[in-house]
């Protein structure tokens, strides 16, 4: 569910980052109040746990494997605010220290996986476990919380994707980042998450919570008292379902589909059929028609390409010398 860079416009990324800033601030304050000075190691541990949970390959019926995110799991065991910080730090470590990218999209990824997922999952878990008593109730609560949590998080990501063609397009109307509208991105994200990723998340979370409860129940954070009222549940459900209304709302937001893109391509001249659009797109000079920029001589473009060419040669040379070295090593020793 990690969104890479360049799928969302920088403006979207900035907005999502801005939304997360107050969330993080509140989270730090809440965690500080709850755990006092022991919070420092516990925050590091939470982040490490979040990171490691994402690395397990969980078997899926059918023989393949999938990954869980564990946001709801962390929310149940550590509390939702700690979970928010833990997942955020884990995502930061993944982006900066493992070079997995998602640096500009950090805010959006945190929103989906460190905010929506743990909080919604936790909310549903508590709501159900308060009303359905006993071990069965607990189990259902965990499964429902984690399954719905990850699917709504996927829905949030799908909306972020789906709005890109509308929010970020060039003068000709072509999308600059993710080209798929809501009518494509929502099913594309939701179907695999409902069918596979959600099941994996729910199964893995339930099994781990069951293990911890059985072996060391004191580890699970005490939920604060106070029953969640029905009205909040209704509000939450409505908020979650409202984006689907965007689909039904009409052409401006949801029905922006292939036909319309084809009709505005190529500087406003309507195309009769798609192959012409593909043909035009493939012509190099159509792509590079801005290569010579007014005011800057052609020489700039040539210099840049010369520098690039030289750099490529150096890179190739280094790679070949590396291949030569490992070949010599292999001849000398042996590799299993």
């Amino acid at each position: 569910m990690h969104i890479p860079d360049n799928y969302l416009s920088p403006a979207t990324c900035a907005v999502m980052g801005a939304v997360m800033v107050p969330v993080w601030t509140v989270a730090v304050r809440k965690v500080t109040k709850e755990v006092e000075r022991a919070r420092v190691p516990l925050l590091g541990i939470g982040a490490a746990l979040s990171f490691l949970v994402m690395m397990f390959n969980v078997p899926v019926p059918g023989g393949t494997t999938a990954h869980a995110v564990g946001g709801t799991l962390l929310a149940i065991v550590l509390g939702p605010w700690s979970a928010c910080i833990s997942v955020s730090i884990a995502l930061l470590v993944q982006a900066l220290l493992f070079g997995d990218g998602g640096i500009l999209a950090f805010g959006a990824n945190c929103f989906n996986m460190a905010f929506v997922l743990p909080f919604l999952g936790y909310f549903i878990y508590r709501f159900i476990s308060q009303r359905v008593k006993g071990q069965a109730g607990e189990y259902v609560a965990v499964v429902a919380g984690s399954h719905v949590g990850i699917n709504i998080a996927a829905l949030a990501a799908a909306i972020e994707f789906g709005l890109q063609p509308v929010l970020a397009h060039n003068a000709a109307g072509l999308p600059l980042y993710c080209p798929y509208p809501l009518s494509v991105s929502i099913p594309a994200m939701l179907i695999p998450h409902l069918a596979v990723a959600g099941v994996v998340e729910a199964g893995f979370t339930a099994a781990i919570v069951a293990f911890i409860r059985r072996v060391s129940p004191g580890m699970i954070r005490e939920a604060p008292s106070g029953k969640i009222r029905w009205i909040y549940a209704v509000i939450v459900v409505m908020i979650c379902l409202s984006p689907l209304g965007l689909l039904a709302a009409g052409t401006a937001w949801g029905e922006w589909g292939p036909e319309e893109i084809a009709s505005v391509a190529n500087s406003g001249k309507a195309l009769g059929y798609v192959p012409a659009g593909m043909q035009n797109g493939l012509k190099l000079n159509a792509l590079l028609q801005d290569y010579s920029v007014k005011g800057l001589p052609d020489i700039v473009g040539y210099i840049i390409s010369a520098v690039a060419g030289a750099a490529i040669l150096v890179i190739l040379f280094r790679i070949f010398s590396l291949i030569g070295k490992s070949g010599r090593d292999r001849a000398r020793g042996g590799t299993a």
Binding site: F211, R214, V215, G333, T335, A336
Partner: protein
């Protein structure tokens, strides 16, 4: 039964084993002795297929253990059933919520019917004197109890070879004695026993042979355990006494 020819292994650039030649016949009991970092644990991991040699060959009961062999599911399962490994860190070996499930895990995998699984589990729990811990979680046990649970769970597979990595580390004298007696009885039952240790006082009388590792990851001496232990000069020179 176990043959290593000129096996070498390096871990991220650092040599761990250099030019190891070993031949272990079925039913023998061998102690791997050496100072810390000499490669004893690495050798046991290699024998169990956790790591593969960079050079040389490893054959187990006539079959070569290679990367391709370990990709063959049937071979891997047979292999892991026939050689059991007791980790140095008992905590890392236990992952089931109760001791009984931990011990029953292996036999259940083998497809034995439930009655046989229960029999084997109870036998192993009795053998290791941990029957009273059956419903407890391994996580909450003391070091000695964890070691026994790990031992029981490995034994339940009925392996032909037992590889023990520093089995007596950190145990109180009574538990050490207990495990020692158990290993002796397993040896007498015909199992091949391999043990990595730097505490060879306890292994006298248990193992007939010894392989001595040096600090530079080579074998400096093989032979009868008793005569090696008697050679004080040799032991001091190699940081074993």
């Amino acid at each position: 039964m176990i043959t290593l020819s000129n096996v070498s292994y390096a871990y991220e650039g650092n040599a761990a084993l250099c030019g190891i030649d070993i031949d272990i016949p079925r039913g023998s009991s061998v102690a791997f002795i050496g100072p810390n970092g000499s490669g004893k644990s690495t050798l046991l991991k290699l024998l169990n297929g956790i790591v593969l040699p960079d050079a040389g060959r490893y054959s187990f009961d006539g079959e070569l253990v290679t990367r391709d062999a370990l990709r063959n599911q049937a071979f891997v399962r047979r292999f892991h059933k026939r050689i059991g490994f007791l980790f140095q860190n008992s905590e890392a070996q236990l992952f089931c919520p109760s001791v009984k499930e931990e011990v029953a895990f292996g036999p259940r995998q083998m497809g034995l019917d439930e009655r046989e699984v229960a029999d084997r589990t109870n036998d192993c729990l009795e053998l290791l004197d941990i029957a009273r811990l059956a419903q407890r979680s391994p996580w909450h046990l003391s070091e000695g109890e964890k070691r026994k649970v790990a031992f029981a769970s490995v034994l339940a597979l009925n392996p032909e070879v037992l590889a023990l990595d520093e089995p007596l580390n950190g145990l109180d004298p009574r538990t050490k004695c207990f495990l020692r007696e158990l290993v002796v009885s397993l040896r007498d039952a015909g199992k091949t026993i391999l043990c990595a240790t730097h505490d060879f006082h306890y292994v006298e009388g248990v193992f007939s042979d010894a392989v001595v590792f040096s600090a530079d990851h080579r074998i400096v001496r093989t032979g009868g355990l008793e005569e090696i232990v008697a050679d004080r000069g040799f032991l001091e020179a190699n940081n074993l006494l």
